[in-house]
């Protein structure tokens, strides 16, 4: 007990030391300040967090008529404190702002105690003083300035870089006094690459090929091989389905089935065929409006229509129709633009220069279809809601062959279809029946980039052009950052859905800009971007960490070691199925219903609709990739949800990576994992090799490397113990292997079989099994 308390106190002391007490002495504080205080990187984050709530862009909540987000206003005489100025460039002592943030008089100090925003730290106050001393220069928010490709930074360790990425990383590492790790061993590197590019572990053949290939091109060769496999498209699609809030049901109360999966098949197809990102976006935003639009182009717009849809009798149509438009606007702004605009639904944005009018002008682009708020209740439910795209069998055979259609019936998908009847108004406080003022013309967020009439039409085609204009400061940065996040576990901008003023600043701004510009210069080529990342020395580093690294950079922000993280939900399933040989590699098609604990859907349903009961699939459909698991919005698949999969309720660009006991229970008891252990054991039992070799092979299939001596010993001990137990009938071999629907094969040595299965199950429960290492 005492120990614990002491340790905790020490811990607290060290935390506070880091933040506060070392600044007790002014000299030290002075020294720790940056040479030049930047508005964008030092001052605005504090203003945005602590001041803009009352002194920012929102005109309705502005206190004392003071706004601090504009130089002119911040330099002007204060209206409520006569003779004073909030900021006097060059003169911090006389600036009212400095006086107030340094005060501890509750009636005078800022931020005011009623705001519950907390006070500024001595360091933050010192930053303000120095910034004002240096002239209090304002800058446009970094993310709203078009990215520029700067020359590569100078570095000392010139032998390390393999490509441009490494210059930027090494530069920061040298600045921070960190040394990059050596390259990871080949086995781990291959596992990392294979999981990152295809979401599947490498086969033994691929492992052997790579390990034995000592040519300088071996690495690149494997990268190309992985990039050209059809599983690449599935891996990339998984993230995009989160962005697009893809699901197989309508959400809301009765939550009946819908058919949006042909769009999901298109996404996989688009990634595999390496659609340039600008084309990929254009089709999804405005495919239906392209000249002589093909069915494929129209299908792509299902992206916008994946929103939930009510089938609750008695709803007010316009309330829901507006809700869908708000959702479409959010998906566009958060998923593609990387900014949050929904605040401006009810009032001018408090932190970003986005007016309420801007919000509804953006929404106006989407408010041009004949979509209804409600088409009928669950009793008359249809698999798609107007506007719909009809796809017949011939079309699937010919032009839409990427759709994995199982029958010959006509298929319908909810898509966009432009219609010019609707007018959009600003809605007071965001309420659907409170339109205000004149009808608004569609327009994109002006603070990001002007929507130039002369250049773009005021419709979704124009919006797509504006979005993919190379001068747009956000589109390329946001996407490159999302891809970076997929490979390194965290974006260069950590808040990948918020590049606005409340978002985090990029850790490597020049690298982000370089990558974004380079991406656009090379035709928005996604495979090229992926290849660039995995070929870098940065990516190839070993994940080993030392006390020093852990102390200097616990979050690995500066990347002095390789990325190590738990796999995303779908890929945990994929690893289990693939390593055991159960995986059915069919691409696309209707979503499937694998094993799920009994009663989940039944316990929560209204009893109406096709999805009131869970009808588990049979045969091959039990062994499809996680990407294809049926998503019923109101009760998402538990095996995915517990591993932090998006609930697909709204656009998501980033998943959390938690570590909970419920995850441990899944790995121990999910029939999928148990069945995989049994089937892999069953296959190995049919090989005429000694148990050690069987264990070794299973280990290689699951962990993707050979055991070390210690691991081998532990596993063999366990195996022999289990063998004993089964032999002495302390454990029931037959009952043990009796799991899962995959056909049982007659195995003579049932005891050996069961012991091997248990050993394999233990391997599946190793942390490394579901970790990219």
């Amino acid at each position: 007990m005492k120990h614990k308390i002491i340790v905790i106190i020490l811990f607290f002391a060290s935390v506070t030391t880091g933040f506060v007490s070392c600044f007790n002495n002014n000299e030290k504080l002075e020294k720790s300040l940056p040479q030049t205080v930047s508005f964008n990187f030092h001052i605005r984050p504090i203003l945005s967090d602590k001041c803009f709530k009352c002194h920012g862009p929102d005109a309705n909540k502005r206190a004392a008529n003071l706004r601090l987000d504009f130089a002119a206003n911040a330099y002007a005489p204060l209206t409520e404190t006569k003779g004073a100025f909030a900021i006097i460039p060059g003169n911090p002592e006389e600036s009212e702002l400095v006086k107030r943030i340094s005060s501890d008089d509750p009636s005078y100090m800022m931020p005011s105690p009623e705001g519950h925003l907390g006070t500024l730290t001595p360091y933050e106050i010192a930053l303000f003083k120095k910034w004002i001393q240096q002239g209090a220069k304002y800058e446009t928010h970094w993310a709203f300035i078009s990215p520029q490709k700067k020359t590569l930074p100078k570095i000392d360790n010139k032998s390390w870089p393999k490509n441009e990425i490494d210059y930027f990383i090494e530069n920061k590492l040298e600045e921070k006094g960190l040394i990059p790790n050596e390259e990871a061993d080949k086995e781990r590197l291959l596992k990392r690459m294979a999981l990152d590019i295809t979401g599947l572990p490498p086969s033994i053949a691929m492992m052997d090929e790579f390990i034995n290939d000592n040519s300088p091109k071996a690495y690149e060769k494997i990268v190309d091989e992985l990039l050209s496999s059809p599983q690449y498209g599935e891996k990339m699609a998984a993230h995009w389905l989160d962005v697009a809030r893809y699901a197989d049901s309508y959400g809301y109360q009765d939550d009946n089935i819908r058919t949006q999966w042909p769009w999901r098949d298109w996404v996989i197809h688009a990634f595999n065929n390496n659609f340039p990102y600008d084309k990929f976006l254009t089709w999804q935003i405005a495919g239906d409006m392209l000249p002589n639009a093909t069915k494929e182009q129209i299908l792509a717009t299902a992206f916008l229509r994946n929103h939930k849809y009510t089938e609750e009798a008695g709803v007010i149509l316009e309330e829901y129709r507006m809700g869908y438009l708000i959702d479409e606007t959010k998906t566009f702004s958060k998923g593609i633009m990387g900014i949050t605009v929904e605040c401006a639904q009810c009032h001018d944005h408090k932190y970003d220069p986005i007016k309420q009018k801007d919000y509804y002008s953006l929404l106006a682009f989407f408010n041009n279809t004949k979509e209804k708020g409600f088409e009928g209740d669950v009793g008359s439910s249809k698999p798609a809601k107007y506007p719909i795209l009809k796809i017949n069998n011939d079309e699937v055979k010919n032009m839409l062959s990427f759709i994995n259609k199982k029958d010959t019936a006509m298929m319908t998908v909810s898509v966009m279809a432009e219609d010019t009847l609707r007018q959009t108004f600003l809605l007071m406080r965001g309420v659907y029946d409170k339109p205000n003022g004149e009808a608004l013309l569609p327009s994109a967020i002006p603070a990001v980039m002007k929507f130039d009439d002369a250049k773009y039409q005021r419709n979704r085609i124009g919006l797509a052009q504006w979005t993919t204009d190379k001068k747009n400061p956000l589109t390329a940065r946001v996407f490159v950052n999302q891809i970076w996040q997929e490979f390194f576990g965290r974006g260069i901008v950590k808040t990948s859905g918020d590049f606005g003023m409340q978002g985090e600043l990029p850790t490597h701004p020049e690298l982000l800009d370089w990558l974004a510009v380079d991406f656009m210069e090379h035709g928005w080529n996604i495979k090229r971007l992926v290849k660039q990342i995995v070929l870098s020395s940065t990516y190839r580093q070993s994940v080993k960490t030392t006390d020093e690294k852990q102390k200097k950079d616990p979050d690995n922000i500066y990347l002095s070691r390789g990325p190590r993280s738990r796999l995303s939900a779908e890929f945990i399933r994929d690893v289990v199925l693939s390593s055991s040989g159960l995986l059915v590699k069919t691409i696309g098609g209707p979503s499937v219903k694998p094993y799920q604990p009994k009663g989940l859907w039944e316990g929560a349903t209204s009893g109406r609709g096709e999805l009131a009961t869970y009808k588990q699939d049979k045969g091959e459909d039990l062994y499809r990739r996680g990407l294809y698991t049926f998503i019923k919005l109101t009760i998402p698949p538990p095996g995915l949800a517990l591993f932090d999969a998006s609930n697909r309720d709204q656009c998501e660009v980033k998943r959390s990576k938690t570590n909970t006991p419920l995850q441990a229970l899944i790995m121990m008891n999910d029939p999928t994992v148990l069945e995989a252990s049994r089937v892999l054991a069953q296959q190995l039992m049919r090989e005429s090799s000694p148990p050690e070799e069987k264990i070794q092979k299973a280990f290689r299939l699951i962990i993707c490397r050979k055991t070390n001596a210690k691991e081998k010993e532990i596993l063999l001990l366990y195996f022999n113990d289990q063998l004993q137990q089964f032999r002495q009938k302390k454990l029931d071999a037959k009952a043990t292997v009796n799991v899962g629907e995959y056909p049982q094969k007659e195995i003579a040595d049932i005891v050996g079989f069961a012991a091997l299965m248990k050993t394999i199950n233990a391997i599946y429960n190793m942390e490394e099994a579901i970790t990219k290492s």
Partner: protein, 482 residues
Amino acid sequence: MNKELLEQSLILNRRKFLSKLSLGIGSVALGSLLIPDLFTGKPDEEVLMAGLPHFAPKAKRIIYLFQNGAPSQLDLFDYKPKLQEMFGLDLPESIRMGQRLTGMTADQKKFPLAGSIFNFKQYGKTGAWFSELLPHIASVSDDLCIVKSLFTEAINHDPALTFFQTGAQVGNRPSMGSWLSYGLGSENKNLPAFCVLLSKGKGNGQGVYSKLWSNGFLDSIHQGVQFSSGDNPVLYLNNPESISKEDRRKMLDKVNELNEVAYEEFGDPEINTKIQQYEMAFRMQTAVPEITDMSKEPESIIKLYGPECLIPGTYAANCLLARKLSENGVRFVQLYHQGWDGHNNLPNEIKGQCQDVDQASAALITDLKQRGLLDETLVIWGGEFGRTNYCQGTLTKDNYGRDHHPRCFTIMMAGGGVKPGVYGETDDFGYNIIKDPVHVNDFHATVLNLMGINHEQLTYKHLGRRYRLTDVAGKVVNGIIA
């Protein structure tokens, strides 16, 4: 716990902790499932929860008996003889005032008033009115704080439920239980801080959705853990029959050894966290079945809750289970009982619903009281909105339906620092509130207050904004606090 292990725990927790620290005073809140395990031994957890609770709590735990689908306040609590007098007459426009209606009755030409066909009586010292449908609940009337003046903004089930559970209609926000798990953590290291129990009545039902117990943007350790009535009370809890507890222990020991080999090589603190999570999972495998096992409950308890409490998955069984979970330190137990959506045939349906819930609801209060737990446990009973005073569909002498009515409805609370009595008042038509209105945000602010939390200070910064359960509104209703 030995010193090394604790130090490791601290290191691995430091990252998360630091990022929370940067949010400012009052927002240091820690996890429920993860954290207690890292700090085995309870008092230490409190050391870490700097700033929370913000002041002395009146309640430590909550049991929320949610009546899903919206029970009719007019047939249960809000006695309106005027409606009986004016049975069949049209709702005066002076009362309705053009307020919006759902699409189900908006096109009705007439709005005939439907007085309840059930008899009402006053009970206890407070003289609160109850209909004959709730004799058991009426018998504990002196423990109840009856709020007759709740109102909400939503008029349909999905948004109204979501609003009640998360403080916003839009979805994707953390639910009440998640906020409390985040703010106060768990009192029990073997059980989740937030548990959810579902049951179904025979009345017209509306589904429940797991988003109602979602962690939203909080870490998923704050997600409500759904207990089910089947053999596996918690998802994937049970080992396959062929694997005994000792056998599981053996495997975990080996897996731990293997994970330690990896830790030695890589030094990644997540590996240690994983070891800890497996250990907690193992403890849950013992703790949860002990709690869900009703076989050791004495006859007096079975009698109190009624014989249905032995049938897993019933409301009565869930009430008893809720008491056991709460008694064992679960911060927030959320029940949902479906079937209250009486659009047609309400008198008949509501009888069945009341049979499901009356005895067990009252039993829970009595049971907590006799164990000395009612003082520190807040029990809440109510639905997502009210029902109309006029009939939906055809009105006959003994049958009617009622549409959704967000403008006033009744909820009850007991224990945990609430003041017994009746709060708020509606007009003679039971249509508008005439005294002490309580908005859903106010209700949330008050509940948090009872738990020792200032609702404006329990915040989480997400996508550039500090969110809270009460969003940008809510004021504590002091009139219902003892």
